[in-house]
Symmetry: C2
Subunit: 358 residues, 2 copies
């Protein structure tokens, strides 16, 4: 069943208003949810409203937050997210990064006391209209075992980088520092299929192809998969994301990042506060004439896109191509939600007194 | 055969003086070479002096450069490396990043017209004594085929991040954005062994385990190996390194980065100038009280190091552990050079009139 972006935006906004968010805040959160749906990243879309609802009911989300800067310099800031839905501190932080970049070339903001913020790419892309490169990192609840570790110590800690171009669409990379997203493991489970090796390990740290292994004490592997294929590099990346997001801000780190679902307990206190994020904005003309940079980026993109592609692949992809294509189609034809998600959302609508149904 | 760090430092310094470097510049370059040897990264050590010698003889290295800032803002700069050996612009740039971070919290420098600079970790680590996080990226001559590309469009484009701690040694990540280093392919060739799959592809973009495939028109693969294991994420990383290093500075990008060996031709003009690097420094106390940060990093490191390790592994490693261990041992026992390298260096000594022999 297809819904328009406007329809889903309204529903999401109404839901967050019902949880106590201001109209403006609810609209901001809805923007991020709908961007995820439009860009084809349904795993970070409306399927997660139920998690937010349960966290809110459990008193674990603050929907009338006082988000504030707690420390800053000309090019940096630390922000206290006041336990808000992560989209609110994230937009706040990225705007600060952009303002700082306007004033002194770049801006860098580390955020504590936040929560799951949806797709990292959304915030990185906020920099584009200002002719800046945008960067966004976040830690996440622990699912990943570093190289040689039996335990889950890191989240899938994504990295997003958005770079403006000229006549070409922007370069937008947004990826977890694991070989595949957690959501893809669920797809294997539902299909009753085994995974490839290199995605997960069992509770003893041994290779396995069981997609359901997270429920059996197993862990996801860092990008690279095993040591021979460079998993220590994926571990380094996830660690750097964790350090920039949590060590610079005082957020919960590694195994102490709070879960984004209410059925898992909060981590023990004393290891930082909430989920951590890190944002960056670099003004293009702090480095190079804007038009010169954009022409060079166009050339970069064309060089890569027009390189000879492997058999069966129409072309070499530029990061962001797939999501942009998906967005064009979804805007025209609508967004496909899973029937179970629609049912869940309509139930939540009933419970919270939203009159709209999907 | 073992040599002391001092002995190899002197030799390297004398060699670069013979090529026309000032005493100070030659000593700076030698510092980076010896750091590579001490840290066990011999692939970036004295084995490369011969390449520098040949590039210099071919008139492709400028040993009396005028390295200068061509543009800057309070938190950024662009530097023209004047075609110097890469270590000189790199140290120059990292010092600027550190000075800018002192003044406004962070400093970010993109460098064009440079050359191979040795180990990226050296420059990232320069930030540590200033209680800053150091970052260093560089592009490199094209050996890597992005996901779905037949052609080599990116270098092994490394990422280095150094983070100070308190009583624990610093966190130092320094890794190529490929599963293995190019040098390791050579080891397989010399041993007459096949590689694992996931490292390289053949000239048609098909998987292969032939370590000698680069000489047959093949390419290295990005971190992740194949699309199913996230090679598009490794491609994103290599691309971001290239964009920050070359697009922000105007250096040669992707397939147009000049080779670090004289037997390969220079790329066609008009696609940027020389090799590009990117440097960052973030002052810890621009984000958080220094002592608080360092205590938190100690806790991070201890948490990871003391996590349960997989069978046969004594512990979970912290990035930088292996190199630091190697440095301790090499400082005490000496540095092991390959006999062929010693022969090569003594030959160069003879040709250039260095009186010292190794």
């Amino acid at each position: 069943m297809l819904h328009s972006a406007e329809q889903l935006h309204t529903f999401t906004r109404l839901f967050f208003e019902k949880t106590g968010c201001s109209s403006d805040d609810a609209a901001t959160i809805a923007d991020v949810f709908i961007a995820a749906e439009l860009r084809g990243i349904g795993s970070h879309g409306l399927i997660r409203i139920s998690d937010h609802y349960k966290l809110w009911k459990a008193g674990r989300l603050n929907t009338s937050p006082q988000i504030k800067i707690t420390r800053d310099t000309p090019s940096t800031a630390v922000v206290d997210g006041d336990n808000a839905p992560g989209m609110l501190p994230a937009v706040f932080c990225m705007n600060i990064a952009i303002e700082k970049a306007k004033a002194c070339g770049t801006g860098w903001v580390s955020c504590n006391n936040s929560n799951h913020f949806g797709i990292a790419g959304y915030y990185a892309m906020m920099a584009l209209e200002h002719d800046m490169i945008g960067i966004c990192l976040t830690n996440a609840n622990p699912l990943v075992a570093p190289t040689f570790s039996v335990s889950r110590l890191l989240g899938t800690n994504p990295i997003a980088v958005a770079v403006p171009a000229g006549s070409q669409p922007p370069f937008v990379a947004d990826f977890a520092t694991t070989p595949i997203a957690r959501g893809k493991l669920e797809v294997f489970v539902k299909k009753g299929e085994e995974t490839l090796f290199g995605y997960v390990q069992n509770k003893d740290g041994e290779p396995t192809n069981d997609p359901d292994i997270l429920r059996k004490g197993g862990a996801m592997l860092p990008l690279g998969g095993d040591r021979e294929h460079g998993s220590h590099k994926g571990y380094c990346l996830g660690a750097v994301v964790d350090i920039f997001s949590a060590m610079l801000s005082g957020a919960g780190f590694g195994p102490f990042v709070p879960p984004s679902v209410a059925y898992l307990p909060l981590p023990p206190e004393g290891n930082g506060v909430g989920t951590g994020h890190f944002f960056g904005a670099m003004r293009i003309d702090a480095f190079r004439e804007k038009e010169e940079f954009k022409a060079a980026m166009d050339c970069w993109i064309e060089t890569f896109r027009n390189a000879k592609s492997t058999q069966g692949q129409p072309q070499v992809l530029i990061p962001g191509d797939i999501e942009r294509e998906h967005e064009l189609i979804s805007k025209e034809k609508g967004i496909q939600l899973i029937p179970a998600v629609i049912g869940e959302l309509n139930e939540i609508a009933g419970e919270t007194g939203i009159e709209m149904r999907l």
